[in-house]
């Protein structure tokens, strides 16, 4: 019993929590941006997948790691633009478009991967981001290895939260995005192009998602596997609801979630003989459903979420 409590007092547990949280943080921020503007983006799972592939492939073909992140960012933005053309400009069903984007992005990623590396049975590896010790802080006992010996990509992910928070709360664009999701008519009345605001939000948000996917191949692991996203995108959508569409709460939600995930991996090693591993693997998904049920009572969806805006139409 003591062993189960001791887990949370190890630096390794906290370091793992942050590592697991990073892709979820980026993806959740991306979805927050889209949904605050009134656009559900179910393309998230596929966009993360192709971001992971493109980021990895860019580095594998000789570019440096930061170019890999940039490549993921761009491919995410492109798929975001596709989603925006369908859902914002043409007003197509956000649900079906998103599922279609997920199918297209992931299958296209797999297709290109097989095209470039046809015969690889064992996935080739790259040299991923290495831990970067923050001077002085990394020397602290416990806190050093837990929080200040991460890869640069990890610090980028944390900075992304600060960026998203600043964007949403302190910039005219952030205000416009929020209005586009709450009351697009009022935004249009101010002479601001609702289509454009929504498109910017979806493109930016999708870029975040793809970078979240790239974290897996460039920092957490060193190779690209088929199906490596494994539902992280869907979990991020649940986290958005849990986080009430707020960037700072997305950070807390992702950390909480990742903490439980890191805990179960360690508890699994202690209890693995008694409880089959599949039940531990189910936990993140069951937890996400549970989190949505808890959040349901206070859930206040952006009012214009899922409603296509049409010029010259009054609701």
């Amino acid at each position: 019993m003591i062993d189960f409590i001791e887990i949370i007092f190890t630096a390794g547990f906290w370091a793992a929590t942050i590592r697991i949280a990073c892709p979820l943080i980026l993806a959740t921020l991306g979805e927050v941006l889209c949904e605050r503007a009134g656009v559900l983006n179910l393309g998230i799972e596929g966009i993360m997948s192709i971001g992971a592939m493109v980021g990895w492939m860019t580095v594998f073909l000789g570019a440096d790691l930061y170019t890999g992140i940039l490549a993921a960012l761009i491919i995410g933005g492109i798929f975001g633009l596709l989603h925006a053309v369908f859902t914002v400009y043409l007003g197509a069903s956000q649900h079906v478009t998103g599922i279609g984007i997920t199918m297209l992005a992931s299958s296209l990623g797999f297709f290109c991967f097989k095209l470039i590396l046809p015969a690889s049975t064992t996935p080739p590896k790259i040299k991923p981001f290495q831990p970067f010790d923050i001077p002085f802080l990394s020397d602290l006992p416990f806190f050093g290895p837990a929080f200040f010996q991460h890869t640069p990509f990890t610090y980028i992910a944390i900075l992304a939260v600060v960026f998203a928070f600043w964007l949403m709360n302190s910039t005219p664009l952030g205000l416009s995005i929020k209005m586009a999701g709450e009351n697009p008519m009022a935004l249009e009345a101010q002479g601001i192009d609702v289509f454009l605001v929504r498109t910017i939000a979806v493109v930016l948000g999708s870029a975040f998602m793809a970078v979240g996917g790239a974290y897996l191949t460039l920092s957490a692991f060193d190779a690209f596997y088929f199906g490596m996203i494994n539902g992280r995108g869907w979990i991020a959508i649940a986290l958005v609801i849990f986080a009430s569409w707020k960037p700072e709460r997305a950070l807390i939600g992702a950390l909480l979630f990742a903490g439980l995930d890191a805990y179960q991996v360690r508890a699994q090693q202690l209890a693995g003989a008694v409880i089959p591993y599949q039940f531990f693997l189910m936990l993140p998904f069951l937890l996400s459903i549970f989190a949505m049920v808890i959040a349901a009572k206070r859930t206040k969806y952006p009012k214009a979420l899922l409603i296509p805006f049409r010029r010259g139409e009054r609701h």
């Binding site: 089959p276 998904f285 459903i289």
Partner: protein
């Protein structure tokens, strides 16, 4: 920036509704052709191999129709649900639940003569699929918990449950270490309908079910209610249509169809449950339903179309060295092209200046 707006057509021309899915397919195939060129192959040759692979012989036709069977059923599952704007994306999990029910009841627990055993397994599979969806529907109706996310997440849970059962308590001791379930007893196995092929009774049953669902949707009160709830649930509620009951029926029917897809695969194609029973049939169902414009009879044809892409892509891949993932790309492109075509069917695109605004 190009300014335009969409104006809803008062009535969409009938020919446009019929023609639009075909145009969508053609556009998808042309776009995928660009990828084939990128892969260094000749697209015409590749598509020739794809068609031959899907329809070139009695055996390949049988294989295509056998593959279409579960896709038609998951397509029906999506059609029913999407009509009521209930976004059940969990057909994959419901399919596996149906397969679990088939394994539970069909491997010796219940022994009935074939004429009773097969319907019994289908009913159990449908119940299992419906039951899996039930708690999520109730969460949606009582707590407004978004069903898209919960149905998606539950897919992963169910696959892990199947993995546990097949590696643990339900593992067939005769399987030489492979994680697979016990074989369905002879009385429960769906008989071949075309000798020396893998085409089984499940295909006929899926067509029968498509017609039954068509009848329910078009000719019964329930079908009318489902349509009203999907078009405008607030108005439907004012008109005295019981929303709660209708959504519940939709979910049970939808989950049931997907559950039966698990039955056809377990008792028909394979004879036992495996972890790779469905290579994404649940998600393919969404594409099938969209392509058929949510029409149950259309689902039969779009299901066969999608199956032919999957089956044909295998032989195209062998002959032309194009990755089989092209099939998934074609399916995804089809979904998006169909969405696009639906916009053109229902709306006129007016560019600013072409008509005086307000």
């Amino acid at each position: 920036m190009l300014k335009f707006r969409l104006e809803e057509r008062a009535k969409s021309p009938y020919w446009l509704i019929i023609v639009s899915p075909f145009i969508a397919i053609i556009v998808a195939i042309i776009l995928a052709g660009i990828l084939i060129i990128l892969a260094g192959a000749n697209p015409f040759n590749s598509y020739y191999h794809l068609i031959i692979g899907a329809f070139g012989s009695k055996n390949s036709v049988a294989e295509t129709l056998a593959r279409a069977t579960p896709i038609i059923l998951t397509g029906l599952a999506a059609s029913i649900a999407f009509r009521a704007k209930f976004w059940n994306i969990g057909a994959e999990g419901q399919l596996y639940f149906g397969a679990l029910a088939t394994t539970f009841f069909g491997t010796g627990l219940v022994v009935l003569p074939s004429t009773l055993m097969i319907p019994f397994l289908f009913i159990m599979g449908a119940l299992a699929g419906g039951l899996l969806l039930l708690p999520l529907v109730l969460l949606k109706l009582y707590y407004k918990v978004d069903e898209v996310v919960t149905t998606l997440l539950l897919n992963f849970v169910v696959v892990l449950l199947v993995s546990y059962l097949l590696e643990g308590p339900w593992k067939d001791p005769m399987s030489l270490g492979w994680p697979q379930g016990k074989s369905v007893i002879d009385e429960g196995v769906l008989p071949q309908v075309l000798s020396k092929t893998r085409l089984h009774l499940g295909f006929i049953i899926s067509i029968f079910l498509a017609f039954s669902i068509w009848f329910v949707l078009k000719k019964t009160v329930i079908g009318y209610r489902i349509k009203s709830v999907g078009l405008n649930s607030a108005a439907a509620s004012h008109a005295g249509i019981p929303i709660f009951k209708t959504v519940l029926v939709v979910a049970i029917l939808s989950g049931g169809m997907a559950g039966m897809a698990g039955v056809t695969e377990t008792a028909g194609l394979k004879g036992y449950l495996t972890l790779d029973l469905s290579p994404g049939f649940g998600y393919a169902g969404i594409a099938v339903a969209m392509l058929a414009n949510l029409n149950p009879i259309g689902v039969i044809f779009s299901g066969i179309f999608l199956a032919s892409i999957y089956v044909g892509a295998d032989s195209m891949s062998r002959a032309m060295n194009v990755p089989t993932y092209l099939a998934d790309v074609i399916v995804a492109l089809t979904v998006l092209c169909v969405l696009l075509s639906l916009i053109f069917v229902h709306y006129k695109i007016l560019f600013f200046g072409t008509k005086k605004d307000d």
